[in-house]
Amino acid sequence: MKFVGEHLLPGQLGHFFAILAFVASMVATVAYYRVVKIKEPALQDSWKKLARWSFVVQSAAVIGIFACLYYILYNHFFEYKYAWRNTSRDLPIQYLLSSLWSDQEGSFLLWSIWNSILGIILIRTSKKWEAPVMTIFSLAQVIMASMLLGIFILGYKVGSNPFMLLRHAPENQLAPIFQQANYMEHIHDGNGLNVTLQNYWMVIHPPVLFLGFASMIIPFSFAFAGLWTRDYTGWIKPVQPWGLFAIMMLGTGIMMGAAWAYESLNFGGYWAWDPVENASLVPWLTMVAGVHTLLAYKSTGHSLKSTMFFFFISYILILYSSFLTKSGILGDTSVHSFTDMGMSAQLLISMGVFTVPSIALLIIRRKEIPSVKKEENSYSREFWLFVGSLILLIAAIQITFTTSIPVWNKLLSLTGLKGLFKMDDIAPPSDSIFHYNKIQIWIAIVLGVLTAIVQFMKYKDTPRGQLTKKLAVPTLVALLLTGLVAWKGTITYDNYGAGFLTAIYIMLFASIYAIVANLAYIFIGLKGKIKNAGASVAHIGFGMVLLGILISSAKMEVISVDRMKMLNEGFFKKESKQNPRENIMLPKNVPIQMGDYHVTYTGDSVAQGDPKTYYVVHYQKKDKTTGSMLEEFTLYPDAFVNKKENALSSNPASRHYLTKDIFTYVSAAPNKEEEAKSDTTEYTAHMMKQGDSVFFSKGFIVLKGLNTKPVSRNYVPQTGDLAVGAELEVYTQTADHFSMQPIYFIRDSSYQYSVEDTLAPLGLNVRFSKIMPAENKIELKVKEATGFSDYIVMKALIFPYINVLWLGILITIMGTAMSIYQKIRVRK
């Protein structure tokens, strides 16, 4: 059948580029391998020429794939599955890139582009290391290109072709629509990009993260090249800036993801120990360890083997993380992983290709690797750098161990152990955040203290007394500051008992100590020479990150707590912990107290051409005694509203202060068309005397007393009237209360009248209908409108001192960049 309306050329071109990239990178691998092996200069040169050209060709091909895919997405060619699945016509143009890397193929493509760019830089800069390093790079590119092939080799589907046509997708091949030649006439729009990915962080976070992933291969390649060519020490100098670059980029990428999670509140904060987050954090930890043992080696000759180990394991863990997130194995434990695309075997093989040779060679040649026979002195910097690296390794092991639970399950059942011991599948801890926190907090404490102290030590040996002398002032200052923060900051995070609170206080000290001591070191140790202060600056930033994490997590506060319902069901019951009641209903125009604020929902609005609905939430802060307005602002949390299913995809709105952020998030809103039913409720009568109260669904009404001189807008007194007003106080779910005064009066000595009072925001109507002097009671008739016509359910959170964390990250990045610059400058 000849199909009408398809645009096949860009897809065919793209697929051709994918195959070209695969073949060219294979040629580059073989050619570079020959360069390493061949000793004859003339032959070596011609192989090198071939290798370089092949690598350039594969780089161009990768860019070509990207261009074709972008062209298809940009032009809404929905005959391609990738375009149909990830975009729609109404998708704002700036999010086209996020849809490009929202699927597995796109993320491999991004990774591959960075590998190509880094590869070309290395071809130009790495001189004698080019051939062995680029052999590994080219091999990595073979694997990357294979992920985008989507062709069958010996009956096994290798990779996944991003240019697959919608009608070729296995789930669609039998669909009747694709049996028609003109099927394109029926496909008007694509599936669209998930709304949580329509965020500017999702445009820049993946490229930076994947640059981090890609740059991790450089230390791996240099270490492997050193082992392979038996030049065990020559690679150290060129690798140093790259190691720093890798931790800087990966760290930035991870924290951009954290910033996205924070701003979209997808994880309820910036970090939730989700397996996907963990998987990229672990290699960062081991690479940081490697960079530190590398320093020890450079100055003393110790720790060369550990450095190699850390560089190898870091890249292996990157591949492992890519296996975890892309094989679908995390399906039961993570919200944010991909599903299986049948590439698990391929991902495992790619891991094996790098793991087996590197670790095997490290073991086989361990005796040849130079090492210092003399013991590290306990008063030396290198000794504590090594210890610190091992602490980082423990952190990495702990995080990996729990994150890998689905892998353990797979392994246990594959090896038959599960059947043998009649084991059940292991599930992640039910309180997974605390599970990580309770161990990692101790690691953070040790790291914080080491960061503070170790710079003051000298390599090889530190004269006794000098350390204590230099550290005395910073230690004292840190202790004083900790005391001050503890005193003023009132950290009372006792959800997990006194033990954990103690750990929080120790960590408070450790992080402040890291900041103060490194600041002091710039002046005491470096005599204020900023040029060399990169490490100290980075460590100050690290201390701030720890401090920011600590304070913002320990003092994070949900202010939208529904206290009314809490009282109903018993605040102090054991349920109260499980049911934190973090959502509160805001009827339109009713101020509700949250923390220090009175919050009012005043309506929603939509704008032409904007698919989102904006909810207007007004915050007011008044002085408690004088009632004067201290602060007033409006937030516009928005949501994509799916009218058909009444499903909401919310984005929070936030108010940023220097010392805190206030987040507002709409968790539900009514389907107004449905709610707009006629109000058929009847009045119910209540006999009350002074002090009695009557409940209604949102609170209760108290009869305060009777007023014989009532004043009301709706009542104009006449002479001879006998009027009584019922003074009512209405209490609602928050501390707010309202006054009402329905009036009963007798005019001309015989006619009874009742002036109704209404509380529109609560839908409450009250009539004062009778007085019974004998019983000293009155009759009130109360009517409540069924449901509110308009309301939102929202969550409001305060993250205090979050800026310490963000600033800390920036300073860490800056410090690392300073170090890189310094390392490159010195080399020249």
Binding site: R85, S102, D103, E171, A175, I177, H186, I187, N191, N194, T196, L197, G331, D332, T333, V335, H336, S337, T339, K373, K374, E375, E376, L390, I394, I397, Q398, F401, T402, I405, D425, I426, A427, P428, P429, S430, D431, H435, I439, D562, K565, E575, Q578, N579, R581, E582, N583, I584, M585, E645, A647, L648, S649, S650, S667, A668, G787, Y791, V793, K795
Partner: protein, 144 residues
């Protein structure tokens, strides 16, 4: 001379070994404490046997019963019915707002405990057929 060199060498090995041993010991200690935290996947029946303890239950939405979420009554109460692996259906109570796109979940992983005949859960993890999206819903509703 040779002997003394050896002794120094032995001493050198010892110190590094001690650190490594300490690290291994700490790592093992950490792992042992961690394993204690690990939970298991249960069915409603097995979770009921250990009432009050927290478990993970994997199941599918039971669409025969309606789910209920009425924020005007309680903004933190969402209830629905779930079939577990054995097919047993139970009422599940979640103390929070109804998660977005809950209806679309192919299956759900619930973290919580049995309380009488209800499963009270504190966390819901929804499994959709694809990352962030649902291929098939769209193929059936949009193409034709």
């Amino acid at each position: 001379m040779l002997v003394s060199n050896n002794r120094e060498d032995n001493f050198h090995m010892k110190k590094t070994n001690i650190i490594l041993l300490v690290v291994i010991a700490v790592a093992i200690g950490v792992i042992v404490t961690m394993v204690g935290d690990f939970s298991t996947y249960e069915t409603f029946a097995t979770a009921r046997e250990k009432e009050g303890k927290e478990f993970h239950v994997i199941g599918k939405l039971d669409t025969l019963h309606a789910m209920s979420y009425d924020p005007t009554k309680d903004a933190n109460l969402f209830s629905f019915y779930v079939h577990d692996k054995t097919g047993e259906s139970h009422k599940v109570v979640f103390f929070g707002a109804k998660p977005t796109d809950f209806e679309k979940a192919e299956s759900v992983v619930l973290t919580g405990k049995m309380e009488g005949n209800e499963f009270h859960c504190s966390k819901i993890l929804m499994k959709c057929p694809s990352k962030y999206k649902d291929d098939r819903v769209a193929t059936s509703s949009k193409q034709l």
